[in-house]
């Protein structure tokens, strides 16, 4: 373990890492330098290559080219050293169905080399945090999907890893559990290096020190949440609540303002310069009933749309 205590400036470093499946390039030359203790979010639409990247960093997938190191250990040359200091909460729920929650946690804790007592103590905390204490002695195959999901996340935390990979940790959780998980992740912040993938922009916005936006296997933007927002700070966002919007009307608007998107009960338009009156006149001429208009703060959603031309959740 002496190597693990060496002072590496970067917890995770990748150099031009790529992965092909057949002819298809899932990850295309990614360079990352993630600091120790940093909470780093990978944000991107479905199929962007987030899971593929994480799997390469966890020694589960072999890069087609390029290299990656975790705390200085090469993922391909020294996977065991890497595995000693990492843990992963996979995107799919990963639990032993026939064991109860205690046994599941104990399996992961002890396989990482922790003693019985320590694992028990940590399991108690984790079960409490995930709201599973009452059902902890039940076979987990009887759990609901959300309960399984919570256990699956807890199983990645029990080994107290130096570097933690969370692949869509809050996917499928109800708002309360999601908040609980966020709080726990926030508590770990600084203490561990965490790489998180997510579809929830507010998750990345609130938790992450830095965010990489990834699309079609490439990093298309990287920075702190504020930096990313500043990158389009010369843009204005106008939110319009309206009725009787048709697809044609919205398309017409997109001819002038490409970054127009439909939201619940209306539309949002983003552009460097917005001609307020022109927009209102256009909409009225199409028979749209405008209920309210307002200027909006720039969010990561806007950044994402601007960079990729896509909504994050399609």
């Amino acid at each position: 373990m002496s190597d693990a205590t060496k002072d590496y400036r970067f917890a995770i470093q990748t150099s031009n890492i790529s992965r092909k499946f057949g002819d298809f390039i899932a990850v295309d030359g990614i360079d990352l330098s993630i600091n120790r203790g940093e909470l780093f979010a990978l944000l991107g639409p479905n199929g962007a290559g987030k899971t593929t990247t994480i799997k390469m960093l966890c020694c589960l997938l072999r890069p087609s080219s390029g290299t990656a190191t975790i705390m200085g250990h090469d993922t391909q040359k020294d996977p065991i050293a890497v595995k000693q200091i990492i843990d992963l909460s996979p995107q799919e729920t990963a639990i032993a169905e026939h064991l109860n929650a205690w046994e599941n946690l104990s399996l992961m804790g002890r396989i990482h080399g922790f003693g019985k007592e320590e694992v028990k103590k940590r399991s108690e905390e984790l079960l409490e945090m995930m709201g599973l204490t009452n059902r902890a002695k039940e076979q987990v195959r009887k759990y609901s999907g959300g309960m399984k999901r919570r256990l699956s996340i807890a199983m990645a935390l029990v080994s107290d890893p130096q570097v933690l990979f969370l692949d869509e940790p809050t996917l499928g959780l109800d708002p309360q559990s999601r908040r609980g998980t966020w709080e726990h992740i926030a508590e770990l912040k600084g203490e561990k290096t965490i790489v998180l993938t997510t579809h929830y922009l507010e998750e990345a916005d609130n938790l992450a020190d830095r965010i990489a936006i990834i699309d079609k296997g490439k990093i298309i933007a990287l920075g702190t949440p504020d930096e990313l927002k500043d990158s389009i700070s010369d843009m204005q966002v106008m939110a319009i609540k309206a009725k009787n919007l048709t697809d044609d009307t919205v398309e017409g608007l997109r001819m002038i303002y490409p970054e127009t998107r439909e939201v619940v009960n209306g539309i949002e338009i983003k552009a460097k310069e917005l001609n307020f009156n022109e927009i209102v006149d256009y909409l009225r001429s199409k028979g749209v009933v405008i209920e309210s208009t307002s200027q909006k703060q720039i969010t990561l959603d806007d950044v994402f749309l601007h960079l990729t031309g896509k909504e994050l959740r399609e």
């Binding site: 589960l60 595995k83 992963l88 996979p90 639990i95 399996l107 992961m108 396989i111």
Partner: protein, 240 residues
Amino acid sequence: MRFMILAQRNFKEMFLDYLSLGLAMGLPVVMLLILSPISRVEVMFSPANLAPGIALFAFVMLQFSSSMILAKDRDSALLSRLLTAPLKSKDFISAYSLPYIPIAIIQMVLVFGIAALLGLETSGNLGIVFLVLFIMSMGYIGLGMVAGSLFTYKQVPYAYTTVLLLTIFGGAWFDLAVFGSGFQSVMNVLPFAHALDAARDVMVQGAGFSDIAVDFYWVLGYTIVFFALGIFLFRRRMVE
């Protein structure tokens, strides 16, 4: 010894597959009881000739059950989680094999216990018989690790059927000689006939270890090869 933690979980998983386990231990007993009356007319079915064959037949279930658990886990997200733990391929193979060793011992005790009740006579040292058969049982578990690393759990039953047929035609129930020398020599390349010959020679002809040494090392060699192959194939599956 971290693999012991996973072995414990696999031990539980093995018991949940009570059908395989019940067959593994029940079927040989039933067969022994059914077939032994024939021993009065056919020497091939005397307890000493019968017991080793039935034991091998029982061991095939170990191959089936162990490969099933491994192949099913490979299909699940749980394994990718386990693969991020600092275990090596040989640790995984140990964890998936170990639970079956006590079952193999119970099978041998059952088969030879019943055979004893049916009048098993031995001219040689039963310890040698047990040793050879135990190594052979490990060979079947090793084959289970090969099949479990190589195939999906839907394909595993075909591997089981193949090994079962090889065991039956490898001399478990038929005298190999009746098939002619070509077939016999093919089967003699495989370990099954060697395990059976060794066990029968000891019990029927009073052979000592040196008489069956070739058979013994033949079986041991295969067992080692099966495990080595299982570890190799599993390692290839660890990183896609």
